[in-house]
């Protein structure tokens, strides 16, 4: 094999979305030489797709808001399965992280008194989402990207080299992490452009690779969302939690087929849009679950008054957490009350003036006009659930983002715990910022603790990993010749049909059987052409990760015999308090299969429990857990 280029860094961050960039900024500001490795061009990460906003209890629009209310909403949204420490840190630190973006140059929409404006969103008690129209994720990415340029300009002035302390490796994919004994020592990657390998020697690796949505057929996720960080962590010996919880966003486009799954922002509902079925009925009033009884309006009149007088009316049920709305839409369509293209109607045209719609929802107006020939100022949209977010991810220490393997960290969507069984809209962008920063700081502190005991990478490990990554070109001992595109389509269909929004034992079992077959066929993948920008090869490598992560999802889903948040079992339709305190932990066994074990959650700290009424806690916790409380 040819000589492989070696580069040396303190920290490498895998992924250049919001979490990765914020982590990299922190590591660099703490004096660590940092590399950002991104599968795509700089600034194209999936974070740009986030539309609605970034949740932070700044209290700019309603001054009753504070971190405790935000914490409570987050726990409720996650059905109290959340890692409470993460939810606490998130609620406390989100305002600082948003304000900090303004010092990087961000331009959020404003209140009349010149502060950052905040909008209503599902599950949030008060208007809480800092936003820029409906393109908040783009603003976040661009701001962080430009902050990195700003740091590079500082380094240029000081050292004469823009890339001296923080460098972006764009269109570069990591295939394996390397270890020195029990500790992380770096990563092997390849340039997409040339197919050439390179090795990053680094004692600390931060995973910030986002989600897994590309394993599902109908998804709002971009091609990059192939669970790379989840799979890298597993293969490096770390554990994943909560993998059974997948968020299906209630409103994705359903027509035309080529755009099925593309996101329709929750802001449409936050700003007044309503969901109706083919009979013209606002059906969400029929779907307020017991745990939220008393918190949502029960009549259209009250719901409509809430938009102008939130203090004296209850919020419309269209703004229930996403899992509830997605299930409701699913039920309406199944009951034969769907639209011609298998969704329900989402209408703002009869609720807001055209100029207000264009001002508040410009991207949605543009998206429907260009892709579906629908003018949302004149007619309703057709929408249905789409795979949007994975709550599960790398099990981490809340304060530092450290995984169970020394030197490995994770932040953002690829980490698990923060959102419990269901994430609230707007809590993703704030999660990226809060835990991106914390993981960057965690990695920096870890490096300081090493002194001169830095790990090294053996040549043998590099050669083995490099050979494995090019096996698909036909020297991997294949007997057949499977097409990666065909396998990917079959995987997506399997996950969508059998481990989708509504699940049952037999179907998940069938999915597991099919996954085994797909895994075997995955070994037989052969790609055509050479290594230069070859999408067939790239997909073959991504497929390995998708298959592994899908196995985690299915294996955890079959074990959890209850329904909670992003995990709905037709055969176990109710929530079971005995499952609330249990985490399902996935690890990789020596034979390459996934093991799932039950683990007890750490009990919620008393002062945090005190933030809730005991009636409410009684709906989620077992009586044993609550005994001794008054």
């Amino acid at each position: 094999m040819t000589e492989i280029e070696r580069l040396s860094y303190d920290v490498i961050v895998i992924g250049a979305g919001g979490a990765g960039l914020r982590a990299a900024i922190e590591a660099r500001e703490q004096g660590k030489k940092t590399a950002i490795i991104s599968k795509s061009l700089f600034g194209k990460a999936h974070t740009v797709m986030a539309e609605g906003g970034c949740a932070a209890s700044m209290g700019n629009v309603n001054d009753k808001d504070n971190w405790m209310v935000h914490f409570g909403d987050t726990m409720r949204g996650g059905k109290f399965l959340n890692n409470w420490r993460m939810a606490e840190l998130h609620a406390k630190e989100a305002p600082d992280r948003v304000w900090e973006l303004e010092t990087y140059g961000a331009l959020f929409d404003r209140t009349p008194d010149g502060k950052i404006s905040q909008r209503n969103f599902g599950g949030h008690t008060y208007p809480r989402l800092a936003h820029v129209g409906d393109r908040t994720g783009l603003e976040l990415i661009r701001t962080l990207q430009q902050k990195i340029v700003s740091l590079q300009q500082e380094d240029l002035a000081e050292t004469g080299d823009l890339d001296a302390r923080i460098k972006v490796f764009a269109e570069c994919t990591v295939t394996d992490l390397t270890k020195d004994g029990d500790r992380i020592s770096g990563a092997l990657a390849y340039w997409r452009e040339s197919g050439r390998h390179l090795v990053f020697e680094a004692p600390a690796v931060i995973l910030a690779t986002g989600g897994i949505g590309k394993s599902f057929k109908v998804t709002s996720n971009s091609w990059e969302y192939t669970g790379d960080g989840h799979a890298l962590a597993l293969r490096a010996g770390a554990s994943l939690i909560n993998m059974e919880f997948i968020q299906f966003h209630p409103t994705g486009m359903v027509w035309p087929p080529s755009v099925k799954g593309i996101l329709v922002t929750e802001s449409v509902r936050g700003d007044g849009g309503v969901l109706t079925n083919s009979e013209g009925k606002r059906f969400m009033f029929d779907y307020i679950p017991d745990v939220f009884k008393g918190q949502y309006a029960t009549t259209e009149e009250e719901a409509d008054r809430w938009y102008t007088d939130a203090d004296n009316n209850k919020r419309p049920p269209e703004l229930l957490p996403r899992d509830e709305v997605a299930r409701a839409i699913n039920s309406e369509v199944k009951a034969g009350r769907g639209t011609p293209h298998g969704g329900v109607y989402l209408d703002v045209s009869s609720r807001l003036k055209p100029e207000v719609i264009i001002k508040k929802l410009p991207s949605m107006h543009h998206q429907f006009k260009e892709l579906a020939d629908v003018d949302i100022t004149k007619e309703p949209m057709e929408v249905g659930p789409t795979c949007h977010y994975v709550m599960g991810g790398v099990e981490v220490d809340p304060d530092t983002g450290a995984a169970s393997v020394a030197g490995l960290f994770a932040a953002g969507e690829c980490s698990g715990g923060m959102h419990g069984s269901n994430r609230l809209g707007g809590n993703s962008l704030s999660d990226l910022l809060v835990f991106g920063r914390r993981s960057g700081a965690g990695a920096a502190a870890y490096i300081d603790s090493l002194g001169d005991q830095r790990p090294s990478i053996s040549d043998d490990d590099v050669q083995i990993a490099a050979r494995r990554s090019v096996a698909a070109f036909g020297d991997g001992g294949q007997e057949g010749s499977e097409n990666p595109y065909t396998l990917h389509q079959e995987l997506q269909q399997t996950m969508n049909d059998l481990v989708g929004i509504i699940r049952k034992q037999e179907e998940i079992q069938e999915a597991l059987d099919r996954l085994e077959g797909l895994k075997a066929r995955g070994e037989q993948v052969v790609v055509e052409g050479h290594r230069q920008f070859n999408p067939g090869w790239h997909l073959a490598l991504d497929l390995r990760n998708m298959l592994l992560v899908s196995e985690c999802v299915a294996k955890a889903a079959i074990l959890r015999t209850e329904s909670r948040g992003g995990h709905t079992r037709d055969d176990y339709p109710t929530m079971d308090a005995e499952w609330r305190h249990v985490l399902l932990v996935c690890t990789l066994a020596d034979d390459g299969t996934v093991d799932v074990e039950r683990k007890e959650q750490i009990p919620v700290r008393e002062d945090l429990l005190d933030l809730f009424e005991s009636d409410e806690l009684g709906k989620y916790f077992t009586s044993a857990e609550l005994s001794g409380r008054n």
Binding site: S40, L41, F42, K44, H46, V48, M49, M58, D96, W99, E100, E102, Y104, G105, L107, F108, D109, R110, D113, G114, K115, V132, G133, R135, L138, E139, R142, Q146, K147, V149, S150, Q153, L162, A170, E193, S222, W223, E224, P256, P257, S258, V259, I262, L263, S363, E370, L371, A372, N483, P484, Y485, V527, E528, G529, Q532, F533, N534, P535, G536, W537
Partner: protein, 253 residues
Amino acid sequence: MGNQEHFRVWRGDDEGGDFADYDVEVNEGEVVLDIIHRIQATQAPDLAVRWNCKAGKCGSCSAEINGRPRLLCMTRMSTLPPGEPIVVTPMRTFPVIRDLVTDVSFNYDKAREVRAFVPPEGVEPGDYRMQQVDVERSQEFRKCIECFLCQDTCHVLRDHEENKPAFAGPRFLMRVAELDMHPLDAAEEQGVNRKEAAQDEHGLGFCNITKCCTEVCPEHIKITDNALIPLKERVVDLKFDPMIRRKKRASRS
């Protein structure tokens, strides 16, 4: 199912290439990127194309369709003339890497030449106050998804390799305009005059406002009218207004 359409896709690398012909199925509502993906999945698995979100939000899938700079994911098949071959080529202003993928590093280099936002001294995070009307002007420019189609179409850059070192292109002149209009940017206090930089460092004078950039912008940003022309006007004020020049001379002496 759908119709058959004839696609001519440029294939090759930095050493040259040619058109490859594909007859491929097209269904209702599909966009050009769907068809490129179908060609990949059924006929040419190694056909290189750059894409991410497939929703017009990331600006990755820029190319030229029938000679026009477009996003592949936002060009519906129904908007192209029926029965005629559809010609897909890489962006012409940037070097080809492979097939439809070009080397756009020129743009990232230019981005790093624009002096970053300078936060105002003495204003704590959380204390930033700006009015909506004042942020709206820069917000329009921050809608930019960096697809670089404006850079691709700009005649100062297209077929004029020699202009590239001296000219940042519409995307990054718009970035200068955005920072110049940012209500709290404190560059001036640091001795950086963004208007002067636009003219002297980023080549604003090369632009002769033919509005090609505005025409191809998938975000419908009025690059020429709202960013470049006002920036030019402010440069003119600064550099050529006789009163300001007199004042400057007086302050120097």
